[in-house]
Structures are given as C-alpha cells and as structure tokens.
Amino acid sequence: MAKVVVGMSGGVDSAVTAYLLKKAGHEVIGVTLRTWVSEDGDEGRCCDIDDARSASWKIGIPYHSLNCLVEFKKEVTDPFVEDYIKGLTPNPCVICNRTVKWEKMCYMAEVLEADYVATGHYATIVKLPNGRYTVKKAVHAEKDQTYMLYRLTQEQLAKTMMPLGEYAKSDVRKIAEEAGIPVAAKKDSQEICFVPDGNYADYINENCEGEIPPEGNFVDEDGNILGKHKGIIHYTVGQRKGLGIALGYPAFVKKICADTNEVVIAKNEALFSREIMCRDLNFMSIPDLKTGEKVRAAVKIRYHHAGTAAEIEMLDEDKVKITFDEPVRAAAPGQSAVFYDENDCVVGGGIIC
C-alpha cells in the first residue's frame, strides 16, 4: 500500500478521492493549498479549508493547509491580469495545475516521504507502451477535466493518482452521502476560484498594478468605426451579450487588438476559422514533434468544446499550425488548444496565438 497526499479543495470530489484511497488501504494525508486573499482581507478559501478539514476529520486522515500565496500570485493571477491587458483570454486553471498545485503537492509528497499525490479530477492517468504518461478522458464525459491537465509534466504524472476517472458525479455524491462526508451536497464550483462572482473586469481593475487600457473603438473587419467600447478587458472573442451596440444584425466580438485598442465586431459567420496557431506546447503521449512533422488529432479549443478533427503540424520550435477538417467558431487567443488521440488520451496542447 502506498502513502498518498490528496489535494483537497473543500469540495465533494476530492473528499471522496481521499475516502476511496483510504478505503483501498492507502495511507492518506489531506492537503489544501491556500492560494489567495479577497479584497476585504479575508482568507479567500477559508470556507473551503474548513470544509476540507472537517471532511478529513470525518474520513479519519491527517490534514494540513499550506501557504502558496506567493507562488499563486506570481504564476497565476499576475499573468492572468497581464494576459487580459494584452487582449487575450487566459485559462488560469491550466497554469495553476502545473505550476502551483502539482508543484506544491509533489513537494509536499517529498517532504512527507509519500509515494503519490492524488486529486479528485474526472480523468484517468494512463501509462502508454512507449513509457510515457498521459491523461484519458473520464468515462462520464460530462465531467471530463483532462483539458485543464494537459500541461502537467511527465514527472508529475508519474506520481499522480486520479481515482475518479471511472465514476459519474452522481456516484461520487452517493459515496459521499453514504460515508457521511459533510460536503456531499455542496455545489460544484464553476467560475475561476479567485473571481468567484465571474466579473473579470472588476478583478482586473482592482488587481492591475500597471495601466488599464482605456475606452476605445468598436470597428468592423474593414476598420470602420462602429462605436465606443468600455476598454478591451471587458470583452472576449465570441462574446455577444453586453456589447451595447446596435447594428441591425447579431454582432459578435471577432478579435481584440491590444495594440490599437480596438475591438473588432462581425457577424457570426465571420467568427469561424479553419486554421489556428499554438505556442508554449506541452506533449504528453508523444515526445516533442520535429519541425515539419504532422499528427492527426481531435482538438478542443476551449473547456466546453466537444473537439474537432484536425491536422497538427510542427512549424518551428514550440509552435504548431492546426488545420481543422471543419472550421471552428471563436478560437480565442490565450485559451488552450488540447489535442486528443482516437483513444481519448491527451496527445498534448498549447496556447492559441
């Protein structure tokens, strides 16, 4: 039996993860990472820490909460703000998983001389015949979370357990109820954890150390001025609601130009693209591609995207061109594109540029 450090978020999934591992006979230690503080000075995740602690008491495992405020700011929230100012739409959870969560949990595993770290993600870790590790989509795809995990390193994956890959959310809730775990009925977290109200623009206004881009122009694809926008941080590619502009046809954000401080507006049809570029790559099931090498994959361009068949071609170092069989709608620079093979395993991924 192994010694396992379980990352506990305060929610039902990670509590059940700890419970299942303990039941399987492992020596389990619960850990919550303290990552951020809200504006009024309260510990951002104090309620979650209380929940994780009481779940640990109930399960009967030791529990620690660990400070990684500095790392979280440096690796996650500061880049999040910078990206928005550059007109990008970042995926902070993707970055956090690799640079904060796994980094710190693997460190704690070393400190505590544990063999593995475990999380309550709905995904399965697979060791391939080529010796590499990857993550496979959960059996119950509605809760698949592999998209958020594609940046994990091979070293991190080799030490990770994800026992929930086979379960449906409803099973997990049932297990929690039967085990008397107090968070059984807790609501799923939806938004980015450090922006609980989902209002990114407010968050950026409050947390930006530099200058925030001012108001600017809405323009059409030919550069004709259509009206005034509130500042580029208020918009995302594909957005329709809240533009405050009437053009006589349904208008969408096609592009955000940070350099000219313009937001390009277009009809829905204009939002589709057959080709995108990706940078900052991480490969999982295969080693790095060589320049010119091509691979076929289903590509997800955002968390809630089913995936579209495409050909991926390595251009030069750390950049790929993705050509879709069918055009995809509203690929937003800053979001991650994640590549899957025919077995639903992650091939790799990168950031759309």
Partner: protein, 385 residues
C-alpha cells in the same frame, strides 16, 4: 514547545475553578450571603493580581482576555481624550490586538505612528521622543514581544511618556507572571494581561487602569467592575486567574532561572549544530522561555508538519496568526526578507520542559531541517554555486 500560545491549567488552579463552577456557582452581584462569599473571593483575586504589579485592587478590571484589554485601553483612551488630540504612537511589532485596533482608529480619523524596530526588535527611545506631537494622547508599546521575546525598554518609555504628559499603555500578555512588573516605578498607566499564558484558564484577563486615567467603556451594560466593564462576572475564571497569578509570582525567580538555562541550551545547540541558522531577537533582553529561529532554505510550514509528526508542538510566528498567510509582521519589521521570515520557528518552553525534551527537539530539528533542505530547490542551487 509552544507555551507562548497557551499553557496548561495547573491542578491547584483547576480545583478552584471547579469549585466555583459547580458548588459555589453564585453570581457575586447577588445580595444573599452565598453570593457574597464569592464576591469576597473575587476581591481577593483582584488584590493578588494588583499586588503582582504594584497596583491597587481598585485599579484592576477583569476582561475576557488580552485582546479585549488591548482594545479597551486604546479605543477607550482615544475616545476619552479625543478633544485633547488624535495621535497615537505604537510599534510595528505589536500583537494584532493592538495593531488592528490602531488601524480601526485610523479609519475613524486618528493618526497613528508605528515606530520601527532594529534588527533585534527594540524601538529607539530617541525616535519615540521625536514622534511625540502636541496631539499625542497615548503611547502603546508591548512589554515583551510574543514572537521573538524581545523586552522593550518599558521604564524609559514610561518616563518619557510622563515627562510629556502622555498616557502609557503596555501589552504585557507575555510578560505578566513571567517578569517583575511595577506599574508605579515603570510609569505604566494601562496594562493588559491574560490568564492562560500563566497556567490559568482561557477567556479571562485584566486591564490595569491607573486611578484618575480617563477612559470610556468598551462593553456597556450592567454595573460590574464598578460600572466600567459590563457582563456577568466570570467568577471561576477570575478566581482561577488569581490562583495562577499567586503561584506564578511565588515561583517567578526560580522559574526564570530554570527556563533561561534550558532556553540557552536550546539556542546554543541549534546555532552550533544546524548550519545557516540565525536567532531572532536579543540574546540577553528576551523572555526566559522564548527562542525564535530562522532556518535558511526551509519552508516554515513544512517544518512544523515534520516536527508535529515527531510529537513536537511548535509555531511559525505567533499562534494567533497561523491561520493567516503573510509571514510574521514582526520578522518583516526586523528587516528580514519575505523568504527568510517564511522559514521561521518559535519554540517556547515552560517549567514542565526538561533537558531531555530540549535535546530531543534539537535532534529532531536537525533531522527535519536537513530533510527539507534536501528537497529545497533554493538549497540545491546554493550548494551547486
């Protein structure tokens, strides 16, 4: 090894507490005779505690603990003397009960000077005097720091305060019962203390208010504590506090000597046997039970976990702040970097601590620090260079 966080209630103290919770459970404000006996016992406790700091019984006001006493002293004086002035002087290394109270007053129009401290945690008397304004109404400087044990020059501060006609409050939560205190000789006008730091129960403390000092009430209600602090008298707590203070006072000298010798052994061994380690605070002018170290290239939180696994209870910074995320404001005020402050450890001993305990702690520390450095990327980098 965390006796600055709290201490155990002594059996003699518990006997009294039990008696006054179960059999003699009366409300001392009642008029019948049984209640009167309890009232007399409270008066005795008040006298004992007053005697411990050279005050009169009528100058001791029982509270719910150190935080309430600090709040009352600062808010009460600020409010009572508002017409005279709106400036308060304190230090950067006070307990949060003082610092956050001062911040609260700042939000309500007061001006507060937070005196810096040197690398050992001492304030500069000259800087204190220079900070005094015609509008200064209160100087609040702690007797002994709760994290690094540094003893501030209280007598000199009191002397300066009185020369300028300013009230002087000291948070003596860590010092009361541990250090000789005389409010007259030291020119102290207000002093906060707590029972559970001297083997008394939690939830009781006192504020000494020199006769004639103007202060408004914090807790309004009934006529308890001569109408200055409402709330049904915490009989068992106060009587237990009295007993604990009596015992602490009677054994103070021998305890100080015993604790100092153990503390010195702890400090000497740690500094000689564990590389890249520093002592925070002063070697001489520090609480006899306090040691505080910084271990470079070590994460304080992980160190606490490893020590806990070996059955050693310690803290990083103060216990009150361990739920918080910033590294100790005290260590930062000493000029330590964020990273160094993060690797700090406070060990506080008691009369129950033995030489064997100290040796076990040092051996465990050596092992744990070594292990954490082995997995520290910073340490690896440093060794390569």
């Amino acid at each position: 090894m965390d006796n600055a966080a709290t201490t155990r209630v002594l059996p003699e103290v518990f006997k009294e507490i039990k008696l006054y919770l179960t059999e003699e459970f009366w409300n001392p404000s009642s008029t019948y005779e049984s209640a009167g006996k309890t009232a007399r016992k409270i008066a005795e406790a008040r006298e004992k505690i007053a005697g411990a700091i050279g005050a009169k019984g009528k100058e001791i006001y029982f509270t719910s603990g150190g935080s309430e006493s600090d709040n009352w002293a600062i808010k009460g004086v600020a409010d009572a003397l508002r017409s005279k002035g709106d400036h308060i002087i304190t230090t950067a290394i006070e307990h949060h009960a003082v610092l956050h109270t001062c911040e609260y007053l700042e939000q309500h129009g007061f001006e507060v000077t937070y005196l810096p401290v040197d690398e050992k945690g001492f304030i500069d008397i000259k800087e204190l005097e220079a900070a005094i304004r015609p509008t200064t109404v209160l100087i609040s400087v702690m007797f002994a720091n709760n994290e690094i044990g540094t003893l501030e020059p209280v007598s000199e501060i009191g002397e300066i305060a009185h020369r300028h006609g300013i009230l002087f409050h000291t948070d003596a939560v860590q010092a009361f019962g541990h250090m000789p205190i005389n409010v007259s000789e030291m020119n102290i006008d207000l002093l906060s203390a707590s029972a559970h730091k001297i083997n008394g129960p939690k939830g009781v403390g006192f504020l000494y208010i020199r006769s004639g000092v103007k202060i408004t009430n914090l807790i309004h209600g009934g006529a308890q504590e001569k109408g200055r602090r409402a709330g049904t008298t915490n009989t068992a707590g106060i009587i237990g506090f009295g007993k604990a203070a009596e015992i602490a006072l009677s054994r103070m000298e021998q305890r100080k000597e015993y604790e100092s010798s153990l503390r010195n052994r702890l400090i000497d061994r740690v500094l000689t046997e564990i590389p890249y380690t520093t002592l925070n605070g002063d070697t001489e002018k520090r609480l006899s039970n306090n040691a505080n170290f910084c271990f470079k290239y070590v994460d304080g939180e992980s160190l606490l976990i490893l020590l806990d696994q070996k059955g050693i209870c310690a803290s990083s910074g103060s216990a009150c702040a361990s739920g918080s995320i910033d590294p100790s404001h005290v260590l930062l005020a000493l000029g330590l970097s964020y990273e160094t402050a993060h690797g700090s450890l406070r060990l506080t001993i008691s009369e129950d601590t033995t030489e064997d305990d100290i040796d076990y702690v040092v051996d465990s520390l050596k092992e744990s620090v070594e292990r954490l450095r082995k997995v520290s990327p910073l340490y690896k980098k440093m060794m390569e260079e």
